[in-house]
């Protein structure tokens, strides 16, 4: 990261990509969106050529899905299946493809196995929450936030020793601590253990911790492609989505190699929706709106933490991508 296309994002909108009533995606439209998006990002005419810029047949590819809001919102199985299909088109064998996430109970609720080619692995770091044997003991970020006893966050083992490339598939979601959760949050907090320790009371250290984790090698260099799944979105209460009350339907996918640029666009997508719903901005840090009692789950004008949407700009300072809007080149596609 930021890869070969810093400051460039392909934004693909398709009105028919999802049925808003049933929340059923249209796989054929998703296929078209992905092909057009990859071509718009790379300038290639053939989607296969576009994928081949990132992935070689010999690669072992991790697909970092996001299932923290499942089953209400997650990396849509039809999107993940289309990524798998494109990987196989460029020559990657199914058993070289690993869908991964931290928590088994979340992934189990999605049933990716019903959508992807047989032989594709579905791997989780923690069968029971808190298990650490799925993490590499020698690759970690060590820091103390709140005098916690365990001061390490360890990288998931397959990123450390198996994958040669990673495709990152976040959703378009609001996040109570980090403001929004996109490419950076998904690849960082979704690839390391013991990250909840960064929040306590109404204080969260996501401002610096997200970028710090995302910049750790080999995670940084192996994450070559960002595909933000915005068929559905969450405009408040994220990363969870227990009810449809705060879900919305951007019907959009963003493609890039630069996670900062993609997340910079996400900030405005979420904040614009919140404004439209007369909710306080993701940028609002006023103490009068902060209450950790749980009201934020019902009230979009209550924050559980002092939000840290500045984590995206911070990551730019670490060299992970381009933050300034006027320096981000967006290729818009309508399907």
């Amino acid at each position: 990261m930021p890869g070969p296309y810093p400051g460039q994002v392909a934004s693909v909108h398709a009105e028919k990509c999802i049925d808003v009533q049933t929340e059923k995606p249209d796989a054929a439209v998703v296929r078209e969106m992905m092909a057009r998006g990859m071509c718009a990002l790379t300038g290639d005419k053939d989607a296969r050529d576009a994928w081949a810029r990132f992935i070689a047949p010999s690669d072992v590819v991790g697909i970092k899905v996001n299932c923290s809001g499942a089953p209400g919102i997650m990396s849509t199985p039809e999107v993940v299946a289309e990524i798998v299909r494109n990987l196989t088109v460029v020559g990657v064998k199914p058993d070289q493809i690993w869908i991964y996430e931290r928590f088994k109970y979340q992934v189990d609720s999605v049933h990716y196995d019903r959508y992807v080619t047989k032989g594709v692995h579905i791997w989780t770091a923690e069968t029971d929450r808190g298990e650490t044997d799925g993490y590499d003991p020698s690759t970690y970020v060590e820091t103390s936030f709140f005098d916690e006893e365990d001061t390490r966050s360890n990288l998931v083992r397959p990123v450390a020793d198996r994958f040669t490339k990673i495709v990152n598939v976040p959703n378009m979601k609001d996040h109570g601590a980090s403001g929004v959760t996109g490419c950076l949050k998904n690849i960082a907090y979704g690839s390391f253990s013991n990250v909840a320790r960064s929040h306590s009371g109404t204080v969260t250290n996501t401002y610096s911790f997200i970028g710090t984790l995302a910049a750790v090698e080999p995670l940084r260099s192996r994450t070559v492609l960002q595909i933000m799944d915005g068929l559905r979105g969450v405009w408040h209460g994220g990363p969870f989505s227990p009810s449809r009350k705060f879900r919305f339907y951007p019907k959009r996918m963003l493609f890039g190699s630069d996670p900062v640029a993609v997340d910079r666009l996400l900030l405005d997508i979420i904040d614009d929706k919140r404004k439209a719903e007369h909710a306080i901005s993701v940028w609002d840090r006023s103490p009068k709106y902060v209450n950790a009692s749980g009201d934020h789950e019902r009230n979009p004008n209550v924050n559980s933490f002092v939000r840290e949407p500045g984590h995206i700009e911070y990551a730019a300072h670490l060299g992970l991508g381009v933050y300034e809007l006027d320096k981000i080149k967006v290729a818009s596609v309508e399907v």
Partner: protein, 318 residues
Amino acid sequence: MPALLLAVLLPGLYWDQPADTADRLRKAGIERLYVPAGREQAWRRLGFTATPFDRSRAAQAAAPKVEYHMDVASATRVPWVDANGWQFERAPGRAYFYDVPRGSAALAAAEAFAYGIEAAVRAVPEDLESFARMTKFLGAIDQPRLPVKANIGVIDDGSDLMGEVLNLMARHNLLFHVIPAPDTQYDLNIRLGAGAYSKEDAADPYAFAMQIRRQLTDEKRLLRIYGSNVVLARLTGDGAHARVHLLNYGNRPVKGLRVRLLGSYARAKLTAFEHESANLADYDVRDGATEFSIPETGAYAVVDLDKVGQALPPANPH
């Protein structure tokens, strides 16, 4: 402290039931008992090794366990551990009596063994078999005691306030000796009311323990535990060997526990209760410290380390 202490008496079952319960004990695998004074001969005639135990001279030990209060808001999400090690360090020569609910007897035996104290454990009938398995395990791993390792000296004024400080230090694996006077062999000497250690500060024992931790620094801690908030450790050792006792106070095994020990140890061996075939994983010696992982830690495990000998192979790739 002598360099090598004799092996201590293993913890035993306290049994004040009548002799007609002998078959139940035999069936569970119990062979050794603590009994009220005057009953030992009757039990010996039945083939048991029976020792009289005077509860009135014994200190009460708490049932070792974790208190999970998920419904209570608190400054920390760390569960509360009921452990007795700090009391044992404070008064190591006393005998202790555990009266424990179901599920705690085996851990109580392991805790007493790890701290080398004389202890009688009254267990509910459902726990007799697990207690017997634990005491057999302890008997198999017993060896002459090495000196207790610690780099914090605490001058104990005997107050409840200091007791809470000791409790919180033990809770965070800040290894201490209770000493009569400051001693330069320790990296820190703690005396309430002296220097940076005011009684006012100690009124918040958690914050006080964290103050001690920061003053010592994590880099100087003799032992660190990663991957669990409910595993407490005791460390013994001399110049060439070390033994790490790991007590899991939680109600389920811990998978992937990581331990960091100051000092370079060429080889190590894991002996884990009810995980006989388990081996250490990801063994790593660097920068003056030794680290290893334990695939699954049940109620109790012991790791014996040697500074000399054939080095373990590098950490296994996964």
